[in-house]
C-alpha cells in the first residue's frame, strides 16, 4: 500500500451494477444478510422493499451470472446455501433499457388506438429483452469454461442444446410467426430479438417513421414468451428441471414518474403486475422498490384483478429485517455492518492480523457511557451554576446541595435540577435535612430515560456540540441502513486521514481513531445527508425544509425542557385515523419516510386502545441538528392539522422556525 487509503471512498461497491466489477462485489459483499432474505432464492415472485441504501441492489446483484462466476473463480463459497443455489438470473432495468421511453412517440395517430396499443408494445419490448437476457445468461455460464460451476447450477454445457431450445422457442406460436424463417440457432434468435429491440428504440428516438408491419402483427402477450423460453430450455435439457429462473425488474418505481409526462406510468406498472399475476412456476420475478412506491392494492393490466401479498407474490421488507426492535439480540444489522467494515479494510490492503476485537470496535472503540461522555464536555471538577441551572425561587441550601453533587457527578446534579422542577417531586425543595443520597439516584429508569436530554442540555449550556463516537453510536446513527453506515465510515476515515497526514505510521496498520476525530467525521456525514435531501436523485427542498423545521422544533423543545418531563420530544406522533383523514399530509410524510428522511413506526398510545404512528428524524441527521438519536418515552402528540401547519411554515420560512 503506497498511500493510506480510505477503504470507504467508493460507497457503492456492492450496490452498483457490476459488469466488470464483480470481483469487488465478491470482496465487499457480506453473506450475513442472505439468511434474512432467503425468499429471494426460492421459487415464487418477490417484492423486495427497502429504503435507498438498504441493500436491495446488493442482494439482487447476487442473481447475476457474473457474480456467480466471480465467486466460483475466486474460490469463495457462493453465499446462497447450495440447496437454493440452482438458479439462473436475468432481468431488465426499465430505465436503462429504454422501456420508459414508450409512449414518448405515438404508435398510432388515433389517440384511442394509441392508448390501447402502447402498453402492448411496452409488454412486447419487455418480453424480448428478458428472453434475450435469459439466453444470454445461459450462454454466459457455458462460455465461462467452468464445467463444475455449470454442473453446480444445473446447466448443460452442450451448446447444441441451447441452439435446439432457441429453435423450438423461435417456432413457438407465442411469437405469432415473427421468427418463422430465420432462426436456426441461438445466435439467430438473439439477433432477431436485438433487431426488434433496436427497432423499438429507434422508433422512440424518431429515427424510423413507423414500427414495421412484421412487428405490428406479432405483438406478444406479456410474460408468455418468457415462460416459453424457460420451458424450452428445460425441455431441450439445457437447464435441469429443478433449476429456477429468477428475473429482476429494476427501476419499477421510476415508472410512476412517467405519469407526469405521458400518463403511462401507472399502466406500465400494471403490465409489470400482470407478469407477477401469471403465477407461472417456470419463472419467478424479483422487483426491488421503496416501501411506499409499491401500490397497496396493485391491479393488473387489462383486468380488474389484483395481485396480493402471499398469493401472487411475497413481500420482503429489508428495513423491517434490519431495524432494531425491542430485543437487541435480534438486531441483525450490527453483525452485517461489522462484517462489511472488516471486508472493506481487508480489500484496501490493511493488515488485520493480531486484533482480537472486531475490526469495527478496534478502530472506533466503544461508545462512552453517559458519565464518561459528560467528562468530554466538562473537564472541570467545579462546574459552574450555569451548567446545573438553578431556579430563582430555590433555597440556597438546595442549590449548594446540587453544587456538592456536581463536584463528583455533574450529570446527577443536572438530573436533580430537573427532578426538583417536576410535578410531585418538588417536595425535595422543602425537605430538611436534605437526603444523603439523592432520591433520583435510585430511579434507574427515570435516569436512563433522561441521560440523553441531560447530556444535550449540558453540552448546549457549555456551548458545545454533541459528540458521537464509538461502535455503538455509529451503529445507532446508521439507522440500520448500509449506505448510511458506509457514509459515516467514509467521513470518519477522511477526517482521520487529514488528521494523520504528517504522522509516521506503517501504511498498512489499522488505526484506532480518536473520539474527537470520529466526531468530526460524523458531523460531516450528517451535514452531507442533510444536503442530500435537497439535491440528490429525487431530492426535494420541500422535504429538506420540513426536516430542518422539525429539527429546530425538537432542539428548542428539548433544550427548553428544564424539568426534563418530555425526553421523547425528538419525535412526533399522530393518530392513525386522523392521518388517514388528511391524505395529502399522509402522502407527504410517507414520502419523507420512503426516502429515509424520517423514520416512521407504529406505537402504543398513552391512551388505551388508540392507534398512532410516530416519526423521528433519520438518526444520521441527529448530529446536524445537535439532537440525540435515542428514542425514549412519548413523542410530541400532535393532530395532523398541526403537521399541516408545520409543512406550510417550513415551506414559506425556508425551514426556519420562528426562533431558529
Amino acid at each position: 500500500m503506497k498511500t493510506r487509503k480510505n477503504p470507504f471512498q467508493e460507497l457503492y461497491v456492492t450496490e452498483a451494477f457490476i459488469n466488470g466489477r464483480s470481483d469487488a462485489f465478491v470482496e465487499g459483499f457480506s453473506p450475513l444478510i442472505v439468511g434474512h432474505a432467503m425468499g429471494l432464492f426460492q421459487p415464487g415472485n418477490v417484492i423486495l422493499k427497502g429504503l435507498p441504501g438498504s441493500g436491495k441492489s446488493m442482494l439482487l446483484n447476487l442473481l447475476r451470472p457474473d457474480t456467480r462466476i466471480s465467486y466460483h473463480r475466486s474460490k469463495i463459497d457462493f453465499p446462497v446455501p447450495s440447496e437454493f443455489a440452482s438458479f439462473i438470473g436475468a432481468g431488465i432495468n426499465l430505465n436503462l433499457s429504454g422501456a420508459d421511453t414508450f409512449g414518448l412517440r405515438p404508435f398510432d395517430s388515433d389517440p384511442e388506438i394509441n392508448k390501447f396499443v402502447t402498453p402492448l408494445y411496452f409488454g412486447d419490448f419487455i418480453n424480448c429483452w428478458i428472453v434475450h437476457d435469459i439466453f444470454s445468461s445461459v450462454k454466459k455460464f457455458q462460455n465461462a469454461n467452468e464445467e463444475s460451476l455449470c454442473r453446480e447450477v444445473g446447466i448443460n454445457i452442450n451448446t447444441c442444446l441451447v441452439d435446439e431450445a432457441a429453435r423450438r422457442l423461435a417456432a413457438d406460436s407465442c411469437w405469432f410467426g415473427y421468427f418463422d424463417n430465420d432462426s436456426g440457432c441461438c445466435d439467430d434468435l438473439l439477433r432477431g430479438l436485438e433487431k426488434r429491440i433496436t427497432i423499438y428504440r429507434s422508433f422512440s428516438q424518431r429515427n424510423i417513421e413507423r414500427i414495421p408491419d412484421r412487428i405490428q402483427q406479432s405483438k406478444t402477450d406479456i410474460g408468455i414468451p418468457i415462460t416459453k423460453a424457460v420451458q424450452h430450455l428445460r425441455d431441450a435439457g439445457v437447464i435441469a428441471q429443478h433449476v429456477q429462473v429468477y428475473v429482476r425488474i429494476d427501476q419499477y418505481e421510476e415508472l410512476a414518474w412517467l405519469d407526469e409526462i405521458r400518463s403511462y406510468g401507472a399502466i406500465f406498472q400494471q403490465v409489470i403486475h400482470k407478469l407477477l399475476g401469471l403465477r407461472d412456476s417456470r419463472v419467478s420475478y424479483r422487483v426491488g422498490t421503496r416501501r411506499f412506491a409499491w401500490a397497496p392494492d396493485p391491479t393488473m393490466f387489462g383486468t380488474a384483478a389484483r395481485i396480493e401479498n402471499e398469493r401472487t407474490h411475497k413481500e420482503i421488507d429489508l428495513d423491517e429485517i434490519l431495524l432494531r426492535h425491542e430485543n437487541r439480540r435480534t438486531w441483525t444489522f450490527p453483525k452485517i455492518a461489522t462484517d462489511i467494515f472488516r471486508r472493506r479494510l481487508e480489500s484496501s490492503g490493511y493488515n488485520l492480523k493480531g486484533t482480537k476485537a472486531t475490526m469495527l470496535r478496534h478502530v472506533l472503540g466503544r461508545s462512552l457511557a453517559p458519565n464518561g461522555e459528560i467528562k468530554e464536555y466538562v473537564k472541570t471538577s467545579n462546574p459552574s451554576d450555569r451548567l446545573i441551572r438553578f431556579d430563582k425561587s430555590w433555597p440556597e441550601d438546595f442549590n449548594e446541595y446540587l453544587r456538592e453533587i456536581a463536584k463528583t457527578d455533574l450529570l446527577s446534579a443536572v438530573l436533580g435540577s430537573a427532578w426538583a422542577r417536576q410535578k410531585g417531586k418538588s417536595a425535595i425543595l422543602e425537605e430538611r435535612p436534605l437526603p444523603e443520597s439523592p432520591p433520583w439516584g435510585k430511579k434507574v429508569w427515570w435516569k436512563k430515560e433522561r441521560y440523553p436530554i441531560a447530556l444535550m442540555q449540558i453540552a448546549s449550556r457549555n456551548q458545545q456540540q454533541l459528540q458521537w463516537s464509538g461502535e455503538e453510536e455509529l451503529l445507532a446513527l446508521s439507522g440500520s441502513n448500509i449506505l448510511a453506515f458506509l457514509s459515516l465510515c467514509q467521513h470518519i476515515w477522511d477526517a482521520w486521514l487529514r488528521d494523520m497526514q504528517f504522522e509516521l505510521l506503517p501504511e498498512e496498520s489499522v488505526p484506532q481513531i480518536s473520539r474527537s476525530v470520529q466526531s468530526i467525521g460524523v458531523q460531516e456525514a450528517s451535514q452531507e445527508w442533510f444536503q442530500k435531501i435537497g439535491n440528490s436523485e429525487h431530492g426535494d427542498y420541500r422535504r429538506q425544509r420540513f426536516v430542518r423545521y422539525l429539527g429546530e422544533i425538537f432542539y428548542r423543545r428539548l433544550i427548553d425542557d428544564l424539568a426534563m418531563s418530555n425526553p421523547g420530544h425528538n419525535g412526533f406522533s399522530v393518530k392513525i385515523y386522523d392521518l388517514e383523514s388528511n391524505p395529502s399530509i399522509q402522502k407527504f410524510l410517507n414520502t419523507l419516510e420512503d426516502f429515509g428522511d424520517l423514520m416512521g413506526m407504529k406505537h402504543t398510545s398513552k391512551t388505551k386502545g388508540e392507534k398512532r404512528w410516530k416519526w423521528y428524524l433519520n438518526p444520521i441527521l441527529s448530529p446536524y441538528f445537535n439532537i440525540f438519536h435515542v428514542h425514549t418515552k412519548e413523542p410530541i402528540y400532535v393532530a395532523s392539522e398541526q403537521v399541516g401547519d408545520w409543512i406550510e411554515q417550513a415551506t414559506h420560512s425556508g425551514g426556519r422556525t420562528r426562533n431558529g
Binding site: N19, N95, T101, N535, H538, G539
Partner: protein, 339 residues
C-alpha cells in the same frame, strides 16, 4: 484530420451576425422568468435580423414559486411586446409536457425559414437538446446559429429543485442493442449534481468519468462548481490528472474538441451528463447528436423564479451575448471524422 484545427465561427452576437452576412432569421426562444430571455431577440431586432419568431413559454410544475414565476414571465411578455412582437407568437408548453409537443414546436416552424437562430439562454435542457438535434439534421435548415446571453448574476440559493430520476434526454436515448460498452462518461460540472452519482453507479460503471470544469469561473460560481466535484468524489474515486479538464465555459467548440480528443475522434464511445454551463452543454449536444451518443440528465421540475437577473454587460458597454454557428449554407460546422 485534426478537428481542433477547424474554424468554427463564434463570438459576440453582433459581430457574428454582421460577419456571416445574412439578413433575416427565424428566431426560436424561451419566455421565462429571466431578464436575459429576450436579450438576444432585442439585439437582433435592433439589427433588423429577425424574420419570424416563436417563443415557448414554459411553466414548471405547480409549486410555491408558481405565482411569482408567472408574474415574472408576464413582465417579460410585456418586454417581448415592447420589442415589437405579439403574444400570439408565444407557445405555452409545460416543463414536463409530452416530448412530442416540444418536437412539434420546433418542427412546425422549420418551413418558415432556412435561416434559424435558437436562443438557449433560458431553454431547459429537455427542450434545447431536442431542438438542436432536430434543427441540425433537418436539411431545410441551412444556417443554424445558437445564441446565449450571460446573466448579470445567478440567484445565491437553490437554483432548481425536485429533480426527476436520471433518464435520457428526449432524442438522446440509447439505440443500439445490446448496449455498447461505454468507454467514457463525460460530465459537465455545474452547480448541483442532482442524482449524478446514482447515474454513474447504476449501469455505466464501466464508463470512465471525465469531468469538464468550466473555466474561467467567477468567484461566486467557483465554489459551487468545486462543491459539485466534491460531491461526485464522495461516490467515485477520481484522478484529477486525467479525469478533470478545464474547459472554456462560453465556447462549445472547446468542449467539442475536448470530447473529440478524449474519444479519439469518436473511436471511443461516450455518454454525456450535461450539468455545466449552457455553451458547454451545447458542445455536448452537438457531439451527441452527430454520433448518436446517449445523454442523461436529472431534469429539475421547478426552477427558482430568480434563477438569474440582468444581462451582463461587456467592457465595450454592449451586452455579453454570444452566437455560435452550427450550420452555414447547409454545411455542418461541427463534424466528427473518425480516423
Amino acid at each position: 484530420m485534426d478537428n481542433s484545427a477547424k474554424y468554427r465561427p463564434w463570438g459576440r452576437l453582433r459581430e457574428v451576425i454582421n460577419n456571416i452576412g445574412r439578413d433575416k432569421f427565424f428566431f426560436y426562444g424561451c419566455l421565462s422568468t429571466e431578464d436575459r430571455c429576450v436579450g438576444a431577440l432585442s439585439e437582433l431586432e435592433k439589427m433588423g435580423a429577425i424574420g419570424g419568431v416563436s417563443l415557448v413559454e414554459i411553466a414548471d410544475i405547480p409549486s410555491e414559486y408558481s405565482e411569482s414565476a408567472a408574474a415574472k414571465r408576464y413582465v417579460n411578455e410585456k418586454r417581448f411586446e415592447e420589442i415589437g412582437f405579439g403574444s400570439a407568437l408565444i407557445e405555452k408548453i409545460d416543463l414536463l409536457d409530452s416530448e412530442e409537443k416540444v418536437f412539434r414546436w420546433v418542427e412546425e416552424c422549420i418551413p418558415r425559414s432556412s435561416k434559424v437562430i435558437l436562443d438557449i439562454s433560458s431553454l431547459p435542457k429537455r427542450f434545447f437538446f431536442a431542438a438542436v438535434k432536430i434543427l441540425l439534421r433537418d436539411p431545410r435548415v441551412e444556417d443554424l446559429i445558437v445564441v446565449y446571453s450571460l446573466p448579470t448574476r445567478y440567484y445565491g440559493g437553490n437554483l432548481a429543485e425536485r429533480p426527476s430520476d436520471w433518464r435520457a434526454l428526449p432524442l438522446f436515448g440509447p439505440q443500439q442493442y445490446p448496449d455498447p460498452k461505454y468507454d467514457l462518461a463525460v460530465v459537465g460540472v455545474g452547480f448541483l449534481p442532482f442524482g449524478l452519482p446514482e447515474l454513474l453507479k447504476s449501469g455505466f460503471m464501466e464508463a470512465k468519468p471525465h469531468l469538464f470544469f468550466p473555466f474561467p469561473a467567477s468567484p461566486a460560481t467557483y465554489t459551487k462548481t468545486w462543491d459539485f466535484v466534491r460531491q461526485i468524489e464522495s461516490s467515485l474515486s477520481l484522478n484529477a490528472e486525467d479525469q478533470l479538464a478545464q474547459v472554456n465555459a462560453i465556447d462549445p467548440s472547446d468542449t467539442f474538441d475536448h470530447i473529440n480528443w478524449l474519444t479519439d475522434n469518436g473511436r471511443l464511445s461516450a455518454l454525456f451528463a450535461p450539468y455545466g454551463p449552457k455553451p458547454m452543454s451545447l458542445g455536448m449536444a452537438v457531439y451527441a447528436a452527430i454520433t448518436g451518443s446517449p445523454v442523461f440528465y436529472t431534469q429539475p421540475r421547478v426552477y427558482h423564479p430568480d434563477y438569474s437577473t440582468g444581462i451582463k454587460i461587456g467592457g465595450d458597454g454592449h451586452p455579453l451575448i454570444y452566437a455560435y454557428c452550427l450550420k452555414l449554407d447547409g454545411r455542418d460546422i461541427y463534424m466528427v471524422e473518425k480516423k
